[in-house]
């Protein structure tokens, strides 16, 4: 694997006021790789994920997507300035982001939600956008809900629509921030199933999750965040079962205690 990584994160730091949330994070994600980010609440998982598509601006370090610096004009560290809105929008449209709270647009029907970015960002005609939207809905198994409004769907269905909306843009990379955390337990499976399918088709994915089963069976690698640092990263079996880090063992022990009653 000596190609340019899909995502190259180098020494990324992020502060909110005086609170250091990311404290020198480095991580490479390669083409078609699935990487899960795990760690305690407040450890900076969401912040790291949001820095990747620059929903959050990192203060120091570099994030490169296909070798291109994200969010800043590529220049020496000291004099770097944020890239133009235009450039940022261009960089973002190939990155799908799936939120914990779905963030569907409630005033648009399911198919309208999926079509909206295609019409506004890709500039497709309505006919082409409808076709693409229907293909995306078919992939998440929701063709029959195309004309419903989001608020009339179950949480699991809403999240699948959100995934379809991202997929329709044909992203080369998908970021998921706890996609199943606000779902009732019986609805988690349908969403994970869709994500598994994407992984199998070779989508590059970074997934913040508390679903250790997904991390163990679908992820190629797992990275463990603790207080803004990645303290362990490696093949999922290794991190989840053989980690030498006390923090990781403790976290997983708590997880096991909770899930095994």
């Amino acid at each position: 694997m000596n190609k340019v990584p899909k995502i190259a994160i180098r020494d990324v730091c992020k502060r909110f006021g005086t609170l250091t949330v990311l404290d020198g994070v480095s991580l490479d994600v390669h083409q078609s790789e699935v990487v899960c980010l795990i760690g305690a609440s407040g450890s900076g998982k969401s912040t790291l994920l949001r820095c990747i598509n620059f929903l959050e601006a990192y203060d120091a370090g570099e994030i490169r997507i296909d070798g291109h610096l994200m969010g800043y004009v590529d220049a020496a560290q000291k004099q770097r300035r944020p890239m133009s809105d235009r450039m940022l929008r261009q960089a973002r449209r190939d990155i799908g982001f799936v939120f914990q709270q779905f963030n569907l647009w409630p005033h648009m029907s399911v198919i309208q939600n999926v079509m909206e970015p295609l019409l506004r960002v890709r500039g497709l005609s309505a006919e082409v956008a409808v076709k693409r939207g229907e293909v995306a809905l078919d992939r998440v198994g929701l063709t029959d809900k195309r004309n419903s409004y989001p608020l009339r769907l179950s949480g699991g269905q809403q999240q699948r629509v959100a995934i379809a909306r991202a997929l329709a843009m044909e992203p080369s990379l998908m970021l998921f921030d706890e996609p199943t955390s606000s779902l009732d337990p019986e609805l988690v499976g349908e969403v994970l199933q869709v994500m598994k399918g994407l992984a199998a088709e070779g989508m590059t994915m970074v997934v913040v999750t508390h679903e250790m089963g997904f991390a163990a069976h679908v992820a190629d690698r797992v990275a463990f965040l603790d207080r803004g640092r990645i303290i362990d990263v490696g093949p999922s079996q290794q991190v989840l079962h053989e980690s030498k880090e006390a923090r990781v063992q403790q976290f997983l022990q708590t997880y096991h205690d909770r899930t095994n009653f």
Partner: protein, 226 residues
Amino acid sequence: MNMLQTLWHYAPLLLSGAGVTLWTWLLGSVLGLAIGASVALLRRLPVRPLQWVLRIYIEIIRGTPFLLQLFLLYSGGPSIGIRLSALTAGVVCLGVHAGAYFAEVFRAGFEGLPKGQIEAASSFGMTSFQILYRISLPTMLVAIFPSIVSILISLSKETVILSIITVPNLMYQVQSMTVETYSAFSGIAALAVFYWVFVECVARFSALIEYRLTLFARRDSAEVRA
């Protein structure tokens, strides 16, 4: 003459007055909405002096009676070179007055916008303008629609006051009728019926629109066509 005869006799005058009332209300509302939306948008700009000016505008308008504002513009205006006809002054005043209330409603609407929906839009690379007119404004409109309607209804009642600066609206015509006929009750009856029907129409029509606007939030109703 009995009351009905009086009213019949004055019908053309009263109708023209009713027309003026509706017209000033409509123009005042449109102007007010435009002012309110502009002020709310401008208040989002990070320019301190501008913030102060807009704040003061809103505070003054909301803190003083409409009658006073009307006098200030119509009678005080000429001394600083603003000479407006009664009708124009009336409409401008209604607009400026409603604008302050609309501005506050729009501001609350902007602040109440779900951040996540906007974030989702920007994660796809939509422009700020696209986000504003495709996501923010429609969502906001639904949320603030009831407040807008209640401002429109209050404004309909403020139109009465324009008669004081000789705008020939219904109130004005009713007053001349009363002076000529000494029949106070006919006038009151005409005003009451008119405003009741007027407000009722606005309320009914708004309820209809509101029903359409919030269809998406109703779980029970039928599916829509895309």
